[in-house]
Symmetry: C2
Subunit: 253 residues, 2 copies
């Protein structure tokens, strides 16, 4: 499905821009009001403008990178103008940082839906891994933003307290599971939740981030829905194995 992407360099096209942003519940009484504005005139709607810009910015930055994305292209895909971007976000970097934060927020918000309270530690962990794997798959634009940020040595992310907070809270679930598992004796002692998170992220992230090169070399087979389910269960198996109490106390650094 994805194999022929047919890269369109300049897709500043189509999508006739509506003259103004419609406020939520006034489409009905718009007729009389709007006609007065038809010649020249507009409605103000700062929030909608900002949201519009941000969502397009995520698309564009995710697609072309920080320096690859073009402010004028972003503006073109928006219902507003380039000037507004500078008005609200200062400069390109400012927009990028906000877009990055926004991408993180959206994804972390989705994660909070996962409820593991009722499950045994083992089942909870399996569920968490499985969920994370799927969640990454369904948010490729977020993955791409993180890839790009990594290329930039995370220098923008470092400054963003917003993002650090979001991520630290994301590891809470894992910490709980570990604690419960250790307490019940079904997990090995001394587990490091961060290291475990590393393992889970590595598989889930790589699966999306490196799909293009991997499938270019080895074919798309591994990325069919069926194959992905297998891969995912392998990942779950591997992670569960890492938390199991060591059978023999022989030490092996």
């Amino acid at each position: 499905m994805f194999q022929t992407v047919n890269f369109v360099k300049k897709n500043i096209l189509s999508a006739r821009k509506p003259l103004c942003y419609q406020h939520s519940r006034e489409a009905d009484l718009a007729e009389t009001e709007e006609k007065k504005r038809e010649k020249r005139g507009w409605r103000q709607n700062p929030d909608a403008v900002k949201r519009d810009i941000l969502s397009v910015a995520i698309e564009e930055f995710a697609a072309h990178g920080l320096s690859g994305a073009r402010i004028h292209s972003i503006a073109a895909k928006t219902r507003t103008s380039k000037r507004m971007i500078y008005y609200y976000f200062g400069d390109k970097k400012g927009l990028y940082v906000r877009a990055l934060e926004e991408a993180y927020s959206e994804v972390r918000a989705g994660e909070t839906e996962l409820d593991l309270g009722q499950l045994t530690p083992r089942d909870a962990l399996a569920r968490l891994v499985s969920f994370t794997f799927d969640h990454h798959r369904s948010h490729p634009e977020f993955i791409r933003m993180v890839m790009i940020e990594n290329i930039h040595q995370a220098e923008n992310l470092t400054g963003s307290e917003v993002i650090r907070r979001l991520n630290l809270s994301a590891i809470k679930k894992l910490e709980d599971i570990c604690r419960r598992g250790e307490a019940e004796g079904v997990f090995r002692k001394g587990l490091d939740p961060v290291a475990l998170h590393w393992q889970i992220s590595a598989a889930s992230f790589f699966n999306v981030s490196n799909r293009p090169t991997f499938s270019a070399i080895f074919g798309e087979d591994l990325f069919s829905d069926d194959a992905q389910i297998k891969i995912r269960s392998q990942v779950v198996d591997a992670i569960l194995h890492l938390v199991e109490p060591r059978p023999k106390p022989g030490e092996e650094s």
Copy 2:
């Protein structure tokens, strides 16, 4: 060590350019010859020029991405000129593709040093995983080139037969191990070498590619030499577990 990177935006500096490329074994008889050229004049050395350009190109593309890298910056870090880049590589994309190929070649060349002939399948696999993990760590610029290529949907890699060949040969070792392990009954049946390679790559690659964001959020702890050894052994454990014959023949898709 790495935490304060102190980004220098324009490092087009220092490094006095020698007037010409010295051929390998003529530094000695250079005195008489060279003095005639001192005013204006140069030696030709196409191969050295190409190599010089490519190595700088890898640095720059890896650091700033395809669109972030600047031809004139690349030229500046070279002992030759912008003109030569276009002379030998046509345009920016051409240079990028060659740099990508070069990066792959260098890394794959390093991999051939690994000899697993004498080891049991299990030991061989453990060794391969361990080696791959380290090898990725010691070639961050390669990792970054691949990250960048992924952001570009692998569209350049797709066209390069060179790279596909290099990579397919890279999986040969793994295929051998799997076959031997299955034959000896120490590995489970029906292993997919590509899927296994996916697992190994995921950990090894992510470890380098996502270090910036990961350590920005969770700290550098996991990336100390000691911690990396632990992580690596976890990865080895996890992979080995994946190839072990299933203890109970209960089927679990």
